[in-house]
């Protein structure tokens, strides 16, 4: 293992333990911010020390031990502010459990459901997960979501205060709430994956700030919900997209569209892992949005072995996706698939059927329209649409690609 890979592995363990401890303390105190405060220094120390010293045998016990200064501080304040007492007592209990038992209890599922609770501001859900479950700092999250660190910090503080003051419960929801609440968790994780990324469906961009973190959350969710097919579907979708990262741009940084990517550059282990999760999902026999999106990516991945793309199959999957989750991304994907099966006019008609107020500023819609117009040899209109798409992207590589197509 290379040094950076070792570092990443250690970081993953540290994050894992940090999330478990925050979840354990917060689930019993109802106070996410308090739990984080108690552990913040310890986590920093772990990231400094573990890569050199190795991962301790009982990471949670190590972290709680390292947090003791902060906890004693908190104890002093507790004499003034009575409410901190439960957290302190809990930290003591937690250290005992961490030292005595081989596996520290995992309450992260409850924490995930709290972060994605409908009572929490939708713009705070994903940042909250990244910070509390993975221990990411607010500045890093802010830059991925293109807001100022101060604004992100404020958003997170407000959400944590609401959890504590409004009494958002740390529990795993039951039917009939289950389906809806799981979707909130899945969407929040996917939104971490697509943060700062305009078109996740066809990988229409190269900027991709929190991909590793999103995949880590996806893996955590799968381990906590092994029987939830959509959790497997979401992870498979992210892994398929991740597998293509090295092929998404040339060595000069130029954008390469999915159907032109050199399949030899795709990361086969990630594709294999994605396919494994897709198989697990389909064996659970409950179809959902993320499984369909992953299945579409799976067919693209087959180009590496089959050489061709099975567009009729992709069109069929998009048909299902549009019915299940009629997002504009799915509608655009369906239109492109229709055109690729040979019916360019039907593809264009499907694009035109998207409401103008939804498509007006949606870059992938304009890029797809341009692509379809060119197929139909309506070159002047195609050039215009490519230029319009270029004006709507934030990604320099994609902009250059679209402008180049506009000039052709």
């Amino acid at each position: 293992m290379s040094e950076s890979a070792t570092h990443a592995a250690v970081e993953a363990v540290a994050r894992n333990s940090y999330g478990r401890l925050v979840a354990y303390l917060a689930a019993r105190s109802g106070d996410v911010a308090g739990a984080e405060d108690a552990l913040s220094e310890a986590f920093g120390a772990a990231l400094r020390r573990w890569p050199a010293d190795g991962v301790p045998e009982k990471p949670e016990a190590w972290l709680l031990h390292a947090a003791r200064h902060r906890l004693i501080d908190a104890a002093r304040h507790a004499q003034v502010r009575k409410r901190n007492e439960p957290l302190l007592r809990l930290a003591g209990e937690a250290e005992e459990i961490a030292t005595t038992f081989p596996i520290f209890p995992d309450e992260r599922l409850k924490l995930l459901f709290v972060c994605a609770h409908p009572a929490i501001d939708i713009a705070a859900r994903t940042p909250l997960m990244l910070q509390t479950v993975l221990g990411l700092d607010a500045a890093r999250i802010a830059s991925a979501f293109l807001v100022s660190p101060a604004a992100m910090e404020q958003r997170l503080v407000r959400a944590k205060t609401k959890i504590r003051e409004a009494g958002v419960p740390f529990c795993v929801p039951e039917p009939p709430q289950w389906d809806e609440r799981v979707v909130f968790v899945l969407d929040a994780i996917y939104s971490a994956y697509t943060a700062g990324w305009e078109s996740a469906i066809d990988g229409g961009s190269t900027h991709h700030a929190l991909a590793h973190e999103a995949v880590a959350l996806g893996r955590t969710l799968v381990s906590l919900l092994p029987d939830e097919p959509e959790a497997h579907g979401l992870l498979a979708l992210m892994l398929h997209c991740e597998a293509r990262r090295p092929a998404r741009a040339t060595s000069e940084g130029a954008f390469v569209p999915l159907d032109r990517q050199d399949t030899a550059l795709w990361l086969q282990p990630l594709i294999d892992e994605a396919e494994k999760h897709l198989r697990v999902a389909s064996a659970l026999k409950r179809l959902g949005r993320y499984q369909l999106e992953a299945a579409i990516q799976s067919i693209h991945a087959h180009r590496a072995v089959g050489g061709a793309i099975d567009w009729p199959e992709i069109a069929l999957l998009y048909e299902g996706l549009v019915r299940l989750a009629p997002t504009i991304g799915a509608q655009v994907g369906r239109a492109v698939a229709l055109a690729e099966t040979g019916d360019g006019a039907a593809g264009l008609a499907a694009l035109d059927a998207v409401a103008a107020d939804r498509s007006a500023n949606y870059q992938p819609w304009w890029a797809a329209r341009a692509h379809l117009l060119r197929r139909l040899r309506r070159h002047a209109e195609a050039r215009e649409a490519f230029a319009h798409a270029a004006g709507l992207t934030e990604d320099p590589a994609l902009r250059a690609y679209l402008l180049e197509r506009a000039a052709r």
Binding site: R28, G30, H117, A119, R164, A166, G167, P169
Partner: protein, 120 residues
């Protein structure tokens, strides 16, 4: 933990219901709240057209014709309940018959003081 459910309804549905079905729905909800042992307090409010606003500025009392603010929805009443957590409060808010006409704002009462006494 105590929560107040503020019932916001459109102005035209503010008058006390006369429709027997609506009256029965309101009564059934009240009985369910009591039967669950979570009811603390609750009232329906009169028309905002009859409101009067009082404030004190520089030691002088100012009295104005209400309502407080012109809006499409008005506070039609409230219920205070004592339940374990927000999810339970949201459950009871959704059961309020007025949730189908307007919306219910769910607020923890007394904030931190009550949060500390839940023993969660």
């Amino acid at each position: 933990m105590k929560y107040i459910l503020l019932v916001h309804v459109p102005k035209d549905s503010l008058a006390a219901p006369t429709d027997p079905a609506a009256v029965a729905a309101g009564r059934a909800y009240g009985e369910a709240l009591r039967a669950a042992g979570i009811f603390v307090a609750g009232v329906g409010l009169g028309s905002p057209d009859n409101a009067t606003i009082v404030s004190v500025r520089d030691g002088k009392r100012q009295v104005q014709d209400g309502p407080y603010a012109e809006s499409k929805e008005f506070l039609g009443g409230f219920v205070v309940i004592d339940v374990p957590d927000l999810d339970a409060a949201l459950e009871w808010a959704a059961r309020n018959p007025s949730a189908a006409l307007g919306s219910i704002e769910v607020l923890p009462l007394g904030g931190s003081y009550f949060a500390a006494s839940t023993g969660r």
